[in-house]
């Protein structure tokens, strides 16, 4: 429907196709690009999987520590929030200087761009775990490690599911930003976007953007949102 209006407006008004593409141009660009899009998509998704795993581990651990150690939270909490507001591409120069133009730099941008948000979400989520679970756990004999394993871990799954969802969108954005700027040997989606710009191929630019948005939406709608819903239903939230 929307696409139809877009296409019709394009034809009626007569925009020039090198300034702004119509859906039909984008579709054609996608077909032309198919050979490159597929591999680039795989590269990007592989990076996302690896980097997101790292940043989840780091972020969740940091969130747990911030939650547990109050003095650290007071000292570092505001800093974490501040870093979270930093656009992730701002990590690129530091990444290049520290690692060079390579996969490590890419991972660095992704992890830095998303783990702080995950840590904050995790900490806030843990703060919402009712105090009564602690009392009930102590009464039932869940102390020390058992408390973490059998009470805190399951009790914080709603928080974790939400931080997963938020962390993913941060990670995906960071990675695309990183790929856009860092021309590493293997090419991801961000590189195709930049390539489109350098050839002044507006259809390609928008086509790649469409793929990026599609990936973000697919993962969120089909994977993370249902996961969050399931956890919430289990908890009766």
């Amino acid at each position: 429907m929307l696409l139809g209006i877009w296409e019709a407006a394009f034809r009626l008004i007569g925009w020039r196709d090198y300034l702004f593409p119509a859906p039909s141009h984008i579709a054609r660009a996608m077909i032309d690009l198919a050979g490159q899009l597929g591999p680039a998509l795989l590269v990007s998704l592989a990076r996302l999987a690896g980097g997101f795993a790292i940043s989840l581990t780091l972020g969740a651990t940091a969130g747990l520590i911030l939650w547990r150690v109050n003095t650290l939270n007071r000292a570092m909490g505001p800093l974490f929030l501040g870093i979270q507001t930093l656009p992730s591409v701002c990590w690129v120069p530091l990444a290049v200087l520290a690692f060079g133009i390579n996969e490590a730099a890419m991972m660095f941008v992704l992890v830095m761009g998303s783990s702080f948000a995950i840590a904050i979400a995790m900490r806030d989520g843990l703060n919402t775990v009712p105090r009564i679970y602690h009392h009930a756990g102590a009464m039932l004999g869940a102390r020390g490690l058992a408390y973490y394993r059998y009470i805190l871990l399951p009790a914080s799954t709603p928080a974790f599911a939400s931080s997963l969802r938020q962390g993913f969108s941060f990670a995906w954005r960071s990675l695309m930003g990183g790929e856009l700027i860092l021309a590493t040997r293997t090419h991801g989606l961000g590189y195709l976007l930049e390539l489109g710009r350098s050839f002044a191929d507006v259809a390609q630019v928008v086509a790649v953007m469409v793929v990026m948005i599609a990936i973000g939406m697919t993962v969120d709608r089909l994977l993370l949102a249902p996961l969050e819903r399931r956890v919430h239903r289990r908890f009766g939230l």
Partner: protein, 279 residues
């Protein structure tokens, strides 16, 4: 027989204020006794229960169970919380099972004991349900089963039925009586409801507030299970209610005196009589 719970002249201050939540309060539960502590809000009755549970430590005085000092929460003093405190990620039966799992009881023994505990609270049919799928009354029954399965020396109950509707509460009273006469556990039960107190208790302890102290102890020697609408029950309830009303009035007066002075009639009329003269 175990279950001799003693709180001897315990005092506890609120963290923020210098006010005593409890001042020099002594409460003793004999093995197998059903003791209900009743009092207006702010009388420190929940604090008292927290001390018995070991979730808080007294500023002075001692808390012992069968002669051993209480220093931390433990399965020998099982608690039924006002807001059940059940784990929403577990089913009803998994909640009941939790304490045994922590104790390292074998799976087959756990299954038998969980089934028995759920039968005791008439919930066998709902064992696979999640907590939010249960009604308020059923949740508290799961909480009671979770506590009883630990085979505690005392059962501590913190206004467990306060959030339930009247019919459910009456049903819960009957079931708790039945459960108590079967197991003869020592029960320390805290409530603000006088009706609840006199229905259930062998002994009612009336606390007064600001600071929390024992105002009166009333032994109720009516046999269990009781007819909740009986004449004797009503009379004892009236007696306890009077105690508490006196207490509430005293506290209100005391609080009011601090900032409220009676208004003199002359304050209300225009003494000079020149009303409107400046117009």
């Amino acid at each position: 027989m175990t279950g001799h719970l003693e709180l001897i002249s315990v005092s506890k201050k609120f963290a923020a204020a210098q006010m005593h939540a409890l001042q020099n309060v002594s409460v003793t539960c004999q093995p197998g006794e059903f003791v209900v502590v009743v009092g207006p809000s702010g009388c420190g009755k929940s604090t008292l229960l927290n001390l018995a549970a070991g979730m808080a430590l007294p500023d002075s005085g001692s808390v012992t169970l069968d002669g051993k000092p209480v220093t931390a929460p433990g399965p020998d003093r099982a608690v039924v919380f006002q807001e059940h405190g059940l784990f929403p990620w577990l089913t009803a039966s998994e909640n009941v099972e939790f304490g045994l799992k922590m104790q390292g009881v074998s799976r087959s023994e756990r299954e038998d004991r969980v089934a028995a505990a759920l039968r005791m609270v008439h919930l066998s049919h709902s064992s696979k349900k999640l907590i939010h799928e249960l009604s308020g009354g059923m949740r508290q029954r799961v909480a009671i089963a979770r506590a009883m399965i630990l085979d505690p020396a005392v059962l501590l109950m913190d206004e467990p039925f306060a959030a339930l509707d009247a019919q459910t509460r009456t049903l819960m009273h009957a079931q708790l009586q039945e459960l108590w006469s079967q197991t003869r556990k020592t029960i320390l039960f805290v409530t603000h409801s006088v009706g609840e107190a006199v229905r259930l208790a062998d002994r009612v302890i009336v606390l007064h507030a600001h600071p929390g102290r024992v105002r009166r102890e009333i032994k109720i020697e009516l046999p269990h299970p009781r007819n909740f609408d009986g004449r004797e029950i009503s009379e004892i309830a009236r007696l306890v209610r009077n105690e508490i009303e006196d207490e509430v009035n005293r506290v209100n007066k005391q609080l009011a005196d601090d900032f409220w002075k009676p208004v003199k009639p002359t304050d209300l009329v225009d003494v000079a009589g020149d009303m409107g003269s400046g117009i």
